[in-house]
Each structure stands twice: as structure tokens, then as C-alpha cells.
Amino acid sequence: MKEATDIRRRRDAGFIAVVQERSGQNLSACYQCGNCTAGCPAGFVYDRQVHQIMRAAQLGLKDEALDSRAVWLCLACSTCSLRCPNNIDVAAVMETLRHMARRENRVAARKVEKFWFSFLDTVRAFGRAWEIGTMALYMMRSLRVFTDLDLAPEALKKRKFGFRPHTVANGGSGAVTRIFKRYRERAAREGTRP
């Protein structure tokens, strides 16, 4: 049997403070009505519902909040923030938790992170997203070669895929690449995982 959670001992006040500071949201404003969960279009695949993540964050249960797949499956559509009766930007809290988990290298849904990196790699290289490049990189990283391949003909027909990467005029691509470089340098300086 699972033991009862000692919520006094496990309360991580520092974690609460960091989440509040980085998200700019007051976690204690949440009265657990559940409207975020009710409206969440991705909730059906979550291991922990949005209001439960908010509850874990409120109680300072860092592991429950950060090791949840839900923060990675969140679509960032912000319906939760729109519906929240207490004006909490719930999506911002989810994003904050996602970044905290990534920096601490405790990513519960590795493939989602791989997709992120695949996407960002194309942006870094060309200054803009490149769909086919993102797909190719993601397939290599995740070894999910045939995933969603059935959608390709339809997407091609609608000209959603350009075979050549989009570039930014007037050397914009290089500027974007330099932003990434600076970010990596800063991460290295601060000793965090980029």
C-alpha cells in the first residue's frame, strides 16, 4: 500500500517561491475549482490533471509537479488561463514547470523534448522553422520513423511542406543563430542544462 504523503515534511518552500517568481502567478489564489481541467483539450492523455498539478505546486510537492508527463503534453493553448476564475495564468505555471524540469534534466516525456529540439535546430540553422527538416530530425532522434507518415501525402497536397528551408532576408538567419549561441553561452556560464 502507498504510504500517506507527509505534506509538512515534503513541502518545498523554495520550489513554491521559484515557481511563483518565474511564472509571475500567485499559486495560493487557486481554489481548486477544476475549470482548467474541464477545458483542457489534452487532459485525456495526462497522467495528472491540470488542477492536480496546480495542487502539487501549491503544496510544494516538487516531484509530483516536475516528473509529470502532463507538463510536457500541455499544448500551451491557454484555455485553462482563459477559464480560470481567479485570473491565474495556468499555462504560464505549466510552462514554468516544464522549463524547470528540463533544466534539472528530469524530462518525463523525452520524445516531446526531442521534438522541441528538432524544431529549434531548424530555427537555429535557418532563422525560421522548416517542417520537413523538423520531421527528419525528430525521426532520427526518436527512432519513430513511421509515426504520422500517413499524414504526409495530404500535407504535401496542401503544400504544407517546403522541400527547401525558408530563410530570412538580409542575413536574418545569422542573427537568429547568434541568439541561440548567446543563449548556450549563458547556460554554460550559469551551469544549467540548455
Binding site: C33, A38, G39
Partner: protein, 652 residues
């Protein structure tokens, strides 16, 4: 002058952040101060006795108490000094609690500020002189604004107590929201059956004058002597002749008039009597939908009326009533829930308010008591109730709980099962608030005996599925999962706000209101019926969310306040009024024009125009004193010299 200073510790309220002993010690160095002490609780019996003893022992002729706000204990200490043989106005208060100890933690700064406030009070007291109150007559009549159940109760109690009542109701019938209800919790007895007799009592009581279809236009005067101008809206029917037979409504050809009494769930005729038990049972023409009044062609009601009561030429008219006090009982309205786009924003016919649902349940409603979907008239199989729509919602600026929705939702779930035994009800709730007598038992009965499915969570969206039903997307937070229900009907427990026009009335009555329009009581706990304006009392939901029993109780409480006020034949004024120095007055009349109470009159002294203060009318606001270009008008105990003395004490 010999002044005594008492610096109260107020337990740790003041002493926690102010060195009271040091303040008292400093006070001894202020001019005319011959005695200073720092008692633990000055307002307690030993504290007051110490003041009395000090006055006698040290021959004091003025007292300063440095403690809480004068709103709290000024009258207490005025009585204390009076008992000690001084004039009650030879007393000043320095507020070192709300203005010092409660707002800062720096002990040294607080102690200094407290000493400065005491010094100012001493400077003011040195220029005080004894004042005597004047008495004035009281008009022993009461005006009650709003004829809902709270107003009805207040009217009946006042009238039974022998005080004539003027009851003003905006709609064409009294009864308010309660008259629209089918049944009432927690007993499920018929609303009309218990309210009806009270409404009839109002109509029949010789001590009650009822103005229906009327509104307050203007209020002037002060406690004991209010003068209220009432607008009697044109009803286009002479109520002296109308017998309430209802012939006009039967024959009226304008049959698509929106039915406000039925919360727009049905249509009515342009001339109608809102419901069978209406008081007064008189017909009224809705001018916006009457063919005679809009197009000039029809006149059917005038032809069929057996008593010739219809009068299309009728105009609004005014009456003025003199009363001694006013009870506001204006009730509530539902907030505009159509701002909730996720519930359809009013576009889906079968998503309705609980008050509309109440009309569908009622035998006098548009369906004769049959629960029918407004869209197709079918009886619903699945009804979803959503609570807290526009309550406890900061995102739409409505943080308050509407108080009675939990209970009426349970009642409606029970009634739904009663009407449609095969139906199924779901209730989305956040918390069940049922603290009243037999309330929790009642809401449990909805679950245990009537099978209502209570789901702890909220609804994020309602949309039509295209097949005649509605998809309700919600969360069950106890299950920890999103849930979905296909419903035939959705009933919203819409939050309340103060009645339309309540803030305008508040401004006429000089009372304050909060950001949802509810009238502010004088003290949240200890003066829930009084307002900050003397002689204006509150009853019912106009002061905040209340159910029927509490509204009735507050109606009776307001009546008790009115009867208590009228138990005295004369009232005393506060003598801290404006006074005119005749030698300085040039008769410019500015004070006459600026006085909001009509307390400054123009007189002639030796052929010269002069201002004269009617002391029993003056409320001591000081507008005239600051307006007077000659400095001829001075407010007793706030004279220019006293204010300058206070400033000097502070800047020394």
C-alpha cells in the same frame, strides 16, 4: 484650563507598537495638561471610572483619550465625561490605533506620531467650549423602498407597531423575487402560498400606503424629517377604477410582449396583470408594445374595460411624502451571465437561468408547471445544473458568494425528479454551502433520496451537438478526470448583484455601496441594519446575499430600528454645527447655495441680508464654512482657529 490625557494600551493592539507610557509622559509637557495616564483598557468599566475619578480629583475641565477611532468609542467617552460632571463636548479623541499602531511596526516612529496626535487633540480641546444639543420633532412615518419579502416584512411590522408606512415598489406588483419562485427550501412549500397572505395583508392594512409602479425621485432632509419625492410612472390604467377583472389582457391583440415577470420564458399581452396573486391586482400597459401608444391604432382594451379605467393620455406624476426614516429593501438582480461565452452567452435556448427554470416549474408560469425545453417544448431527460456562474469569480469582478444558490439548486434537482421521475439531474459544484437550519440535510436529501448526481468540479464549455442535445464539458476533480455529459437542458445558478438602479438610489439616500452595488452597513458585525446616514436602514439582499428567512429577519430588524427611533418624540441634534458671525456675514448667499441639507436660510437683520443656520438641520459637514469668503461661518469645534492650532501643534 485643566486637561487630562489618557493613552489607552488597548491590550496589545496599541501597546504592541506604541510606547504608551512614554506618550503619556510626553503629554504632561503639553500646555494645560495637568494629568496623564496610560490605562490598559480605557473603554472598560475600570478605565472609564479612572477618567471620572481623575476629573474629580484633579479638577479637570477637558479630557483627551488617545485610543481607537472615534467611530468606535467617541460616544462612550462623551458619556463618561458627562457622568463626571463635564460638558460632553469638552472631550477630544486621538486615533492612535487605526491611524498609528495598526499601520506601522516601527515602535519609535509610532510613539512619536502618537504623541503628535495627542498634542493636536490637546491644542484643539483648549479652544473647545461647552455645547448643548437642541431637540427637534420627529415625523413618525416610515418610507420603505422595495416590496419584496424583506420590504413587506418591514412594512407589516412597522404598521403593526403603529407607525404609518409608505411602501414604494418599482414593479406593478409587490412580492419581488420570492413571488417568482415555485417552491422554497428547505421545506419545499409553495412560495406563493406563504407570501400571498403577507401581500394581501399589505394591501389591506390601513396603515400602509402602497405606491406600485413608482420610484424614488428625490430625497432631502435628515433623520426624523425626510422629504421624499416619488415618481409614479404612468400605468395608462386608472387604478381607482380598475377592478382587476383581466378582460383587457384577454382581448389585447399585442400578444408577443416580452414577459418580464416570467423572466422572458414566455410572452404576454401589452396590457396585463403579471400573475394571479398580484398586489395590487391592477392592469398595466407596457407602453413599448401597446399598439395604441406606439401606432395610435387599436384601443381594444379601452373598449372592453367594463369600468372605463384605461387612459392612454396618462403621464408620470409625482407625490411628496414626509417621513422620519427610510428603509431600503431593493433586493437584487441576476448578473449579466451572457458574458460567459463558454456557456453559449445566451445563444442556446435550452441553457437558462435558475430563475427562468423556477418559472417553468411554477404552476402560474408559461408552461403551467410542466418542465419543457424552451427550444422544442420536449420534456428533458437529463438536466445539468451549473453552480457559481458569476459568483466567486474574480475574472469577472464578482468575488462574492451569492449565498443561496447551493440550496435552490438542490431544491430544483428535487423538483425535477418530482416532475419527471425518469429524469436525471447532474449538479456541478465547487463547495456546498448549506449552513442554515435543516439546510445540509436538505441538500443531502437531493443526493440520497432524489438521486441527483453531484459532481465536484466546474464546467468549461457547453455546446450543441447538432442532434438537439448539448455537450457539457466538465471536470470531476474528485475523480481527477475531465468528464462529459450529454444534456437536454442546462440550468445556470447565476450570481446576484444589487438591483438595477440601486447605486442611483444609494446616492439619493447618501449611503455607500460596494463594487457589486450592495449597500454598505454601518458596521459589518455590530450594525448590520444601520447605514452611515442616520435614519436610513437596510433590509434584505440590497445589503448582501441572503436567503428568505434571513431577509425576513432583517426586514423585522429594520422595522425594530424604525420603531425604536420613533419611540422618542424628539431627537437631539449634534451641536457641532455651523455658526454665523453676523458682523462678518455680507449676505452673499454662497453658503445657502452650497448646503446639501438646506440648513442655511437667508434672513434680514436691520435691513441687511444675513445667513442663518437652522441648527437642527445642520449636519456639521463644514461645506459652508469653507465656502464663506468672509470666514463668517465657523463650524463649532472645527473652527479655523482650532484647525490652525492643530497645524501649529504638529509643525512646532
Amino acid at each position: 484650563m485643566r486637561i487630562g490625557v489618557f493613552v489607552c494600551h488597548c491590550g496589545s493592539n496599541i501597546a504592541g507598537t506604541v510606547n504608551c507610557a512614554e506618550v503619556a509622559e510626553l503629554a504632561k509637557s503639553f500646555p494645560d495638561v495637568v494629568y496623564a495616564d496610560d490605562p490598559m483598557y480605557t473603554c472598560a468599566e475600570p478605565g472609564q471610572a479612572a477618567i471620572e475619578a481623575a476629573v474629580r480629583e484633579h479638577g479637570l475641565d477637558g479630557v483627551v483619550v488617545a485610543s481607537c477611532s472615534p467611530r468606535m468609542h467617541e460616544t462612550t467617552f462623551r458619556r463618561t465625561v458627562e457622568r463626571a460632571g463635564l460638558n460632553r463636548y469638552m472631550f477630544e479623541m486621538a486615533n492612535i490605533r487605526e491611524h498609528v499602531s495598526w499601520i506601522g511596526k516601527d515602535r519609535e516612529a509610532n510613539t512619536n506620531k502618537a504623541a503628535e496626535l495627542v498634542e493636536m487633540a490637546v491644542a484643539k480641546l483648549r479652544r473647545d467650549r461647552p455645547l448643548t444639543a437642541k431637540t427637534f420633532d420627529v415625523v413618525k412615518r416610515v418610507l420603505i423602498v422595495g416590496g419584496g419579502v424583506a420590504g413587506i416584512q418591514a412594512a407589516l411590522d412597522c404598521a403593526e407597531g403603529g407607525v404609518p408606512v409608505v411602501l414604494v415598489e418599482r414593479e406593478s406588483t409587490i412580492g419581488g423575487k420570492m413571488a417568482k419562485l415555485d417552491k422554497t427550501f428547505p421545506t419545499v412549500d409553495c412560495s406563493a402560498c406563504i407570501l400571498g397572505p403577507k401581500m394581501v395583508d399589505v394591501a389591506q392594512h390601513p396603515g400602509i400606503t402602497l405606491y406600485a409602479c413608482s420610484e424614488i425621485e428625490e430625497v432631502s432632509g435628515y433623520v426624523g424629517n425626510f422629504s421624499v419625492k416619488i415618481r409614479r410612472r404612468a400605468t395608462y390604467v386608472d387604478w381607482k377604477k380598475c377592478t382587476g377583472c383581466g378582460m383587457c389582457g384577454e382581448k389585447c391583440p399585442s400578444k408577443k410582449t416580452p414577459d418580464a415577470f416570467n423572466e422572458f420564458t414566455g410572452a404576454t399581452t401589452a396590457i396585463n396583470i403579471p400573475f394571479p396573486q398580484a398586489i395590487p391586482k391592477k392592469a398595466v400597459i407596457n407602453a413599448r408594445h401597446c399598439r395604441q401608444l406606439t401606432k395610435g391604432k387599436c384601443g381594444v382594451c379601452a373598449k372592453v374595460c367594463p369600468s372605463g379605467a384605461v387612459d392612454y393620455a396618462m403621464r408620470d406624476n409625482f407625490v411628496t411624502e414626509e417621513v422620519g426614516c427610510i428603509i431600503a429593501a431593493t433586493g437584487y438582480d441576476l448578473m449579466d451571465w451572457t458574458i460567459y461565452r463558454e456557456y453559449g452567452g445566451g445563444a442556446y435556448p435550452d441553457v437558462i437561468t435558475a430563475l427562468q427554470y423556477e418559472r417553468l416549474l411554477s404552476a402560474s408560469g408559461p408552461t403551467g408547471g410542466r418542465i419543457a425545453r424552451p427550444s422544442d417544448g420536449r420534456e428533458p431527460q437529463t438536466v445539468v445544473f451549473i453552480q457559481c456562474v458569476g459568483s466567486r469569480d474574480n475574472s469577472v469582478g464578482r468575488p462574492h458568494c451569492s449565498g443561496f444558490c447551493c440550496m435552490y439548486t438542490a431544491k430544483q434537482a428535487i423538483l425535477t425528479k418530482d416532475h419527471l421521475p425518469l429524469s436525471h439531474s447532474y449538479v456541478f459544484y465547487m463547495d456546498i454551502r448549506a449552513p442554515g437550519k435543516m439546510y445540509d440535510e436538505f441538500s443531502r436529501r437531493a443526493v440520497e433520496e432524489y438521486g441527483a448526481e453531484y459532481i465536484r468540479g466546474r464546467v468549461s464549455a457547453v455546446y450543441p451537438d447538432g442532434l438537439g442535445q448539448y455537450v457539457v464539458m466538465g471536470a470531476d476533480t474528485l475523480l481527477g478526470e475531465p468528464v462529459e455529459i450529454k444534456a437536454d437542458m442546462v440550468v445556470l445558478a447565476v450570481g446576484i448583484e444589487a438591483a438595477k438602479g440601486a447605486s442611483a438610489l444609494a446616492e439619493k439616500l447618501c449611503i455607500s455601496y460596494d463594487n457589486c452595488g450592495f449597500f454598505m452597513e454601518s458596521h459589518v458585525k455590530l450594525k448590520p441594519v444601520e447605514t452611515t446616514t442616520a435614519g436610513v436602514f437596510l433590509a434584505g439582499v440590497c445589503q448582501g446575499a441572503k436567503d428568505i428567512p434571513t431577509s425576513v429577519a432583517q426586514g423585522s430588524a429594520a422595522a425594530a430600528k424604525a420603531l425604536g427611533l420613533f419611540a422618542r418624540d424628539k431627537l437631539e441634534n449634534d451641536p457641532q454645527t455651523a455658526q454665523v458671525d453676523i458682523r462678518r456675514c455680507v449676505g452673499c448667499g454662497k453658503c445657502v447655495r452650497c448646503c446639501p441639507f438646506g440648513a442655511v436660510a437667508e434672513t434680514e437683520i436691520r435691513g441687511e441680508k444675513k445667513a442663518q443656520i437652522i441648527e437642527t438641520v445642520c449636519q456639521g459637514c463644514g461645506l459652508c464654512a469653507s465656502t464663506c469668503p468672509q470666514g463668517a461661518v465657523q463650524l463649532a469645534h472645527s473652527t479655523d482657529n482650532q484647525i490652525l492650532a492643530e497645524v501649529n501643534a504638529l509643525c512646532r
